[in-house]
């Protein structure tokens, strides 16, 4: 194996996502890799970044990724207790950045986490729109981590619009903020052409071909004349992720198959109890 491939897909995703978190803002995340990305950005590129993963009672705290103890580990490093009312003012004043894990995203950047099929009688009901209709009309941009790049997730048109992409609502001026920003998947990195409002390939992840992306995308992507490769994570980043940010390996849960995840979670619950019970 060549030198530059001594990293996991997770390392690559975390490294790439971390680079988007710029300025004195709050970083939020809905997938394990993107949670790690907020922590990596804070440690490496952007000391001004606020990690909110410890909860609003331990605002701007520092802790490794855990599944069952996120509320518990921030006590020594928290800077404030913040209310949900203030959290939404941070959203409204564009002081918030979030990596969302959508079930569907379309060629114009509409995103769906509510239902597959007709909303009133879904084929598969998902969690509900959550904060997407808030974020997508207030933030400076909407950014997505799609765990499993396929024709089921990259669709011509989402079944239900939770987050607003390019289209009539933006052309009419009704929606001004929260335009689609960066989309990262296991296959590559994508952004949007503001003129046409269409999704564009930005780079291919290591080992992925253009044909593979085309075969797994349910619409035609805009393509650059030459397609670069997604930057590889550095040795420093890989070490930080492994040793300080995610020693328990939660980042691998994003795309772990179900039976394996069940066994992993059993072990994780036991390990966390062992590691943290003295701190409770």
């Amino acid at each position: 194996m060549s030198e530059e491939r001594r990293y996991s897909l997770e390392d690559l995703l975390i490294s790439r996502m971390a680079r988007e978190l710029k300025g004195e803002i709050v970083g939020g995340a809905a997938t394990f890799c993107s949670m790690a990305a907020v922590k990596l950005a804070q440690l490496l590129h952007n000391p001004d970044l606020i990690d909110m993963s410890g909860g609003l009672h331990h605002f701007d705290s520092r802790a490794p990724l855990t599944l069952f103890h996120t509320e518990f580990l921030g006590k020594q490093s928290a800077k404030a207790r913040v209310s949900w009312g203030e959290l939404f003012l941070m959203v409204f004043r564009e002081k918030f950045f979030v990596w969302i894990g959508p079930a569907q995203i379309d060629q114009n950047g509409n995103a769906n986490i509510s239902a597959i099929g007709p909303w009133a009688r879904p084929k598969a009901a998902l969690v509900g729109a959550r904060g997407l209709p808030d974020d997508s009309v207030h933030l400076s941009s909407m950014n997505y981590h799609v765990i499993d790049h396929s024709k089921r997730t990259f669709v011509p048109r989402v079944d239900f619009v939770c987050a607003v992409g390019f289209g009539p609502a933006r052309e009419s001026g009704e929606v001004k903020s929260g335009r689609p920003g960066v989309v990262i998947s296991n296959l590559g990195v994508f952004d949007f052409d503001e003129q046409s409002g269409r999704m564009r390939l930005q780079s291919l992840n290591a080992g992925v071909t253009l044909d593979q992306v085309k075969e797994n995308t349910g619409f035609d992507l805009l393509l650059p004349s030459t397609v670069p490769q997604t930057d590889a994570p550095t040795q420093t980043e890989i070490a930080l992720i492994r040793d300080r940010i995610d020693p328990l390996g939660l980042r691998f849960l994003d795309r772990m198959p179900r039976p394996e995840a069940a066994a992993f979670l059993d072990q994780l619950a036991a390990r966390e109890r062992e590691m943290f019970s003295s701190r409770l």
Binding site: W84, A115, A125, V127, G128, A129, R130, G131, V137
Partner: protein
């Protein structure tokens, strides 16, 4: 005023057909002991309001007690959508009214203030406006901006679980408060369970942790472990073994019935 009642007395405070709002969020500090008592008491046809629903909403749906649900999310965090919520949505077993987090917050704020709606930007351009008639687009009288009017929700009862409460109804939350203060302020009455009931002097010693002011509280119930298998910082983290047991039973309506029978509906099980 002494507001302490037993868990079993909760059934006198809620009626079938009531609108209840539930505190906590996802797998955090859900008032599971109170929710189980509602089920045990045979209360049904509820309108349930939950910004971030978890096992509370999922259990009520699985036990067939929900007529209408206002929600932005019903999930088990890393465990995905609530399994009974998912089944009820797919089989159209209740009336579902979906909003966003801030839309639900705004509906409760309007209810708390006693006005008919709140103006928000949330939801513009989304399909929520297509499926939720409690959201109406309107033009601002000041400058012509398009906004969304969110219809007020005024719940009959708020159900909350806190770390400690005194008999007069001060409630202290050491972890994330989520929207518990707003739930209490919007509802006509609040029933609050607590890990422990303490005297008022103990409340004074850490008054900055008081999330719920006594003015909003109607009844206080002592319920150690009252968050069930959800977490209650710093008292306990989420209980993965019991969470797995729940999810295992929730795979089908039939197996879940057995779970409800054993854990909630069983007569007099938890009566002190």
């Amino acid at each position: 005023m002494n507001k302490v009642i037993g868990l079993r007395d909760v059934r006198e405070e809620i009626r079938s057909g009531d609108t209840i709002v539930i505190g906590g969020g996802g797998l955090v500090r859900k008032p599971m002991a109170l929710v189980e008592e509602v089920i045990r008491a045979g209360i049904r046809d509820l309108t349930v309001v939950s910004v971030l629903g978890g096992p509370d909403v999922d259990l009520l749906l699985g036990a067939g007690r929900v007529k209408k649900l206002f929600y932005a999310y019903v999930g088990f965090d890393f465990g995905g959508p609530g399994p009974n919520f998912r089944r009820a949505r797919e089989e159209n077993k209740a009336e579902f009214i979906e909003g966003s987090e801030f839309i639900l917050i705004s509906a409760l704020e309007a209810g708390a203030r006693g006005i008919s709606f709140m103006p928000v930007r949330s939801g513009l351009g989304s399909d929520l406006l297509r499926v939720n008639s409690n959201l109406q687009k309107f033009v601002s009288p000041f400058g012509g901006e398009k906004l969304v009017a969110v219809k007020a929700i005024r719940p009959d009862v708020a159900l909350l679980h806190v770390n400690s409460a005194d008999p007069t109804g001060y409630g202290q939350i050491l972890g994330d408060w989520f929207l518990d203060p707003l739930c209490a302020q919007a509802a006509k009455k609040t029933i609050m369970s607590a890990e422990k009931i303490v005297d008022t002097e103990t409340i004074e010693q850490r008054f900055a942790d008081t999330a719920i002011v006594k003015l909003w509280t109607s009844k206080v119930v002592e319920a150690p472990g009252g968050a069930g298998f959800t977490s209650c910082y710093p008292d306990y983290p989420a209980d993965f073994v019991r969470l797995k047991e729940y999810l295992g039973h929730a795979r089908s309506a039939e197996t879940f019935n057995a779970y409800v029978e054993k854990n909630a509906a069983g007569q007099e099980r938890r009566v002190s």
